[in-house]
């Protein structure tokens, strides 16, 4: 029956407790007299490394400042909101477009206009890519600075095109041509009755559907974002296009057939011939030897070309004790050196055009990064309001029904119009830029 070995237990308890206390007592070199600013961000280990380098860069330029990194490998907004409630948010806060209006209306972010006015000369706002600064303007005031972003283009698997003897898509192609190519590329390779190779895989979620709606001349919300604008023939035509691709032409896999499979994998494994994806995946795609691929501009619809762009920003906490030092950190990120660090990662695109040209677009790879830059000209950000949380759920529900064939495009548009209007009626809205 073994008695509990008291001495051994006691010794290991003691060791454990002292380790515990030891960890608590160590503080990362508490240099006296230095100003500490905290910076919260999300991402994977790749981003962690990036920010370590950025921190080193900043501390080199400002030796009296120490940057404390606060990394959240998940659930970033949950933690951020807890910090807002307890007034412990970091001095520099990474934000994206999703909850930006919500945080602004709750007055968590500092008005950056004074800092922007007295900014250092090299920070030329004209150098910023289009739509980036507007993405972080709330009611005419800038509350965050964009620092990176991405646009989306069509990636395609060259090997599959070669196999079918099809010409590669040209930049001036249309959605109709896209459709025909998809049909030609959808095949049952091993004759078992199940299709193994699909022409394309356009999502039915809000973010995937909106570029098509724009390409057809439709809009998600009205210009002042106070009402939904989806009940229009253009929108219905766009939804019909995707609907037909799935249910009539059957060039897309069934819902979730490829669930869990990351975008780049879908192309890499040859299951999908053409995909809309962000420059973000370039990093993973670059090392691939198994197949040849390339990017091409998004096809044009009746109203021209449209793609989605998205920006990440850096804001200063409204209750920060060191707003000026926080702004300085933002400037470091936006400086040539800072943007170079970002560009060399080749994931998201630096927000300054000059940095993109010098450090993001390289000649080493055959893939055309400059196309992502060109796409910025016809890219638009998603229209976000304070009602984003609720609206997102409604959009997901209705579009899901469309994707399952439970409703028609006309019904979906009508339902969305009704429900989104209801939600927006509860909120005051922002006014920014053209119709989204």
């Amino acid at each position: 029956m073994g008695r509990i070995p008291t001495r051994k237990a006691g010794a290991s308890c003691g060791l454990l407790l002292s380790l515990l206390l030891g960890v608590q007592c160590t503080r990362p070199d508490d240099r006296q007299g230095k100003t500490r600013i905290r910076f919260s961000f999300w991402g994977s280990f790749v981003e962690l490394q990036l920010w370590e380098e950025m921190k080193a860069l900043h501390e080199e330029r400002h030796p009296e400042v120490v940057v404390d990194l606060q990394y959240s490998p998940g659930e970033y907004h949950r933690k951020l909101r807890l910090q807002f409630i307890s007034k412990t948010a970091c001095d520099v806060i990474m934000v994206d477009d999703e909850f930006f209006p919500t945080y602004c209306s709750a007055k968590h972010l500092l008005d950056l206009e004074p800092f922007i006015e007295e900014r250092t000369e090299w920070l030329r706002l004209e150098d910023f890519l289009p739509t980036s600064i507007e993405s972080f303007t709330y009611k005419g005031t800038r509350y965050a600075m964009p620092w990176d972003g991405f646009s989306m283009l069509v990636f395609y698997n060259k090997d599959l095109f070669d196999r079918e003897g099809l010409p590669y898509p040209e930049d001036n192609w249309t959605w109709q041509e896209f459709r025909e190519l998809s049909r030609a590329l959808t095949k049952d390779l091993d004759g078992d009755g199940k299709i193994d190779q699909f022409g394309c895989n356009l999502g039915f979620d809000w973010l995937s559907v909106e570029p098509l709606i724009w390409a057809y001349g439709g809009h998600i919300l009205t210009k002042d974002r106070s009402r939904c604008a989806m009940q229009s023939p253009e929108t219905i035509a766009a939804l019909q296009f995707i609907y037909d691709l799935k249910f009539e032409d059957r060039v897309m896999p069934g819902t979730g057939e490829l669930s869990g499979m990351a975008t780049e994998i879908q192309i890499l494994t040859g299951r999908i011939a053409m995909l809309q994806a962000a420059a973000y995946i370039l990093n993973n795609m670059r090392d691939v030897e198994a197949m040849r691929w390339d990017v091409v501009h998004v096809p044009s619809g009746p109203a021209g070309k449209a793609t989605r762009v998205s920006w990440d920003g850096l804001a200063v906490y409204a209750h920060s004790d060191h707003p000026r030092e926080a702004w300085q950190f933002i400037e470091t990120v936006l400086s040539d050196e800072g943007q170079r660090l970002l560009g060399s990662l080749q994931r998201a695109m630096p927000v300054r055009r000059s940095a993109v040209l010098s450090h993001y677009v390289t000649e080493d790879t055959p893939q055309k990064e400059e196309k992502f830059l060109e796409a910025m000209e016809y890219g638009r950000p998603t229209p976000i309001t304070e009602a984003y949380g609720e609206m997102q759920i409604v959009m997901a529900n209705e579009l899901e029904r469309l994707s399952l064939g439970s409703s028609t495009p006309a019904e979906t548009a009508a339902a969305l119009q009704r429900k989104v209007d209801e939600i927006l009626a509860d909120y005051r809205t922002l006014s920014m830029g053209e119709d989204q």
Binding site: R78, R81, A106, G254, L258, G260, G389, A396, R401, L404
Partner: protein, 319 residues
């Protein structure tokens, strides 16, 4: 002993009880009671979980009445959760017991087998999602692959009539909950372990006596094992019910967030609550939902606890 002596004895007795229980009582008062009160009061307010607390909007019973009168997702999520609980609790409680009985034998390598059965409940969250999406994938997944092969076999021996359906699992409204239930059964390891521990406490002399009386394996199970481990069964039943009503993490990672499955078929109650609290930023409403759930679970548990007097046997009972 005179009455004063009795009184002293009982005071000491009570003090002792409190003393031993004091770690928990202290922890409760400091940590838990406060947060329970906090969330209870919040259920009578509207708050978006980020504006300062003094700006809360007190609305009385509005959350509760809206919940019961206007909210169809409230009922839907209750239904989803009840469905899930109804199937997974009995399955879990009985299957874990059967497994534990199987693993309670002194065969060689039993430790290895026990580990294998315990393993699935241990893989960390996000990794689980990747694994299970692969298993349940309608076209390329493991499960449908197996079913397909079985169907081919049935075809081959001309028993097509017995064809097994190859459902879309998590992507079909009808099969998404069964998929979740199946997934939860893989996590049996914990319950099984508890049963195993309980089985160790059954005195062997009872089995010997039963053998002498010529009892069959089944009778031994029914008349010796089960009564003797009824405290463990009681534990597993209560914990399974509490756990099933609060199922969240699995569903959250499988839906990749707050989505809730095709037509909200896997929108379980706590997922809906989470969505209200952290996506739609209606913390007060979420607290109302939480306390309703609390009430439901409490009532159910009390019923089971009261009934336990009838079927749970404590060898060391001293009333």
């Amino acid at each position: 002993m005179n009455s004063r002596g009795h009184w002293r004895k009982s005071v000491l007795r009570n003090l002792e009880g409190y003393l031993f229980a004091s770690p928990w009582i202290l922890g409760f008062l400091v940590l838990t009671a406060g947060s329970m009160l906090f969330s209870f009061s919040l259920s009578f307010a509207e708050w978006d979980a980020q504006t300062p607390l003094r700006e809360i909007d007190w609305v009385g019973l509005k959350n509760y009445s809206e919940m019961v009168k206007d909210d169809e997702l409230f009922y839907k999520s209750l239904y989803n959760t009840a469905y899930y609980t109804l199937f997974s609790v009995p399955l879990r409680v009985t299957l874990a017991l059967l497994l534990a009985l199987l693993l309670n034998q002194k065969v060689k390598g039993i430790a290895f087998f026990r580990t294998v059965f315990y393993l699935p409940s241990v893989v960390v969250g996000a990794a689980t999602a990747v694994v299970w999406s692969w298993i349940f994938n309608p076209s390329y997944g493991l499960l449908n692959g197996l079913l397909h092969r079985m169907n081919l076999f049935l075809n081959w021996i001309h028993l097509e009539a017995l064809r097994i359906p190859e459902p879309e699992w998590l992507l079909s409204e009808a099969w998404s909950k069964p998929a979740l239930i199946l997934m939860s059964l893989w996590g049996l390891g914990g319950s099984m372990l508890i049963y195993l521990a309980g089985l160790q406490g059954v005195p062997s002399h009872l089995y010997e006596a039963a053998d002498l009386d010529g009892a069959s394996a089944f009778r031994k199970l029914w008349h010796v094992t089960i009564p003797m481990i009824s405290p463990t069964i009681f534990f597993n039943v209560i914990m399974s019910i509490i756990g099933s009503f609060q199922v969240f993490t699995q569903v959250y990672i499988m839906s990749g967030g707050h989505a809730g499955g095709p037509n909200n078929s896997t929108l379980v109650y706590v997922l809906y609550l989470y969505r209200k609290a952290f996506v739609e930023l209606e913390m007060g409403y979420a607290c109302a939902l939480a306390w309703f759930l609390f009430l439901v679970i409490l009532v159910l548990s009390v019923i089971i606890i009261r009934s336990s007097a009838l079927w749970v046997y404590y060898e060391g009972e001293r009333r």
